[in-house]
């Protein structure tokens, strides 16, 4: 059970996340900075709810009070050339 992968992109296990919470993480970003969960290609779209639920379970805080991760540009991966342009232009 503890070796279940919670963050697929970064291959972060349930145990890694439990360790991060024991280390003091009380927010989804706090877990992310300790484990890289949510730092991969999908930017936490799959794992952030699971992580939030685990924090709530472990700390006894209501799920509604677990601070979600900050949303940032871009919504999905974008090729640099689309915004940065072709060098030859």
């Amino acid at each position: 059970m503890e070796d279940i992968i919670i963050c697929r992109c970064q291959e972060v296990t349930r145990q890694d996340i439990l360790d991060a919470i024991a280390d003091g993480a009380t927010t989804v970003d706090g877990v992310k900075r300790r484990t890289r969960a949510g730092m991969g290609l999908c930017q936490g779209k799959t794992c952030e709810r699971l992580v939030a639920r685990m924090i709530a379970e472990q700390t006894g805080r209501p799920l509604s009070e677990i601070v979600p991760p900050k949303s940032r540009i871009p919504v999905r991966p974008v090729k640099i050339g689309i915004i940065g342009g072709e060098q030859d232009e």
């Binding site: 003091g24 009380t26 970003d29 890289r36 940032r72 540009i73 974008v78 060098q87």
Partner: protein, 387 residues
């Protein structure tokens, strides 16, 4: 009145965690008070350049030389891999002769600190970094600089300090100082009051507010840097690389004529991390405490990235973020005792050099607090210069 610790460190960023570690190592009982979480602020929103060539010639460079030497064995000492890329090198390609001439002048000054920094042709630069665009003018090269994972480094200091007995209390906001005349006796927080023999202000971009609580003005302002992360890719580059404009903006802003470049302070700073993603920055914007990303900045940064590394146009970026660098008017950090206040110390204002200068800052500050005198003088960085 009984005390809660020998020393209270306010701020759980790279500087606060480093100070906590070196103070604990000297046998002090340390209490770190952090408003949110360890590495929640700028230490968790930056790149990992540990280079010489981006340092201001003179005192700051001399301090950097000592700090960077400490990185060699830091993972071992702290008992955690901080992903330090030893001697990956630092490079700054110039686009034209004017940039080359300015860089050459700065290099002559920087070399006086005994560091290997020199100018190389674009052909030599491309032998080191084959992905570089061939139509550049030449480059500054510093073969001995390194790069680190700043989040892991902060966590490593935090955990090593904890093992030595330091107590870290997160989600605790300091709201005022406990004072008796000019003596600082401790702090008031939203979780109660704490007493100690000395208080260290390691609040980075927020340090001026903490200083104000003790009744002093410290001229530290937040300067926003926006960065972009790409998807992980195979080995692409080794160096940490900035475009020449980075040093030109930092040390010779008067020669920049384009008002947009000056306003955003946009230049390229790029490195590949251990996990394969590239971190691409950055801007230098004085826009208060705003930490949002702007499309304008992202476009400017990515255009520069493609200008220097054309192959990047086919790589995806997955996230943008921003951090606040604690800016000081003279470009030097503020480290050491405040003469006008007994028991109050500053360790902030490192702007973009907090990661590289954290080891030496923590070590020398701890020596000053514990022994009364540090092994290498912090005088040029003394807070008393602003009093």
């Amino acid at each position: 009145m009984s005390k809660d610790a020998d020393i209270i460190v306010i701020g759980g960023g790279i500087i606060g965690c480093s100070a906590a570690y070196y103070l604990s190592k000297l046998g002090k009982k340390v209490l770190v008070l952090e408003r949110e979480d360890i590495t929640k602020g700028s230490a968790g929103a930056t790149d990992g350049v540990v280079g010489y060539h981006t340092k201001k010639p003179g005192h700051q460079m001399d301090l950097a030389v000592q700090s960077i030497a400490m990185f060699d064995h830091l993972s071992e000492e702290l008992g955690m891999d901080i992903e330090y890329g030893l001697r990956c090198g630092g490079m700054q390609p110039a686009e034209d002769k004017m940039q080359w001439d300015i860089l050459s002048e700065i290099v002559e000054e920087q070399k006086k600190s005994g560091v290997d920094i020199h100018m190389i042709s674009i052909e030599e630069a491309r032998q080191i970094e084959p992905q570089l665009a061939p139509d550049l003018y030449g480059a500054l090269y510093s073969p001995t600089g390194g790069k680190v994972n700043p989040i892991r480094m902060t966590m490593a200091y935090f955990r090593a300090a904890k093992r030595l007995g330091a107590v870290f209390q997160t989600e605790t906001e300091v709201t005022g100082m406990l004072m008796e005349g000019n003596r600082v006796l401790g702090v008031r927080t939203d979780k109660g009051t704490y007493r100690a023999d000395a208080v260290v202000n390691a609040c980075g971009s927020w340090a001026s507010f903490t200083a104000k609580m003790a009744g002093i003005d410290m001229p530290i302002k937040p300067r926003k840097g926006q960065l972009i992360v790409t998807e992980p890719i195979g080995p692409f580059m080794d160096c940490t690389l900035q475009c020449a404009r980075y040093n030109v903006i930092k040390f010779r802003p008067e020669v920049i004529r384009d008002p947009n470049v000056l306003k955003m302070g946009a230049s390229l700073s790029i490195e590949q991390t251990e996990s394969g993603g590239l971190i691409i920055g950055s801007t230098r914007e004085l826009v208060g405490y705003d930490r949002e990303n702007t499309l304008e900045a992202i476009e400017t940064i990515l255009k520069r990235a493609v200008r220097f590394f054309p192959a990047l146009k086919d790589v995806c970026f997955i996230r943008a973020f921003a951090g606040l660098r604690p800016y000081t008017p003279d470009g030097l950090p503020i480290i050491g005792r405040v003469d006008a206040l007994d028991g109050f110390y500053m360790a902030a204002g490192h702007e973009g050099d907090g990661i590289a200068l954290a080891p030496i800052t923590g070590k020398l500050l701890a020596e000053q607090i514990v022994y009364g005198k540090e092994s290498y003088s912090l005088e040029p960085f003394s807070p008393n210069r602003f009093m």
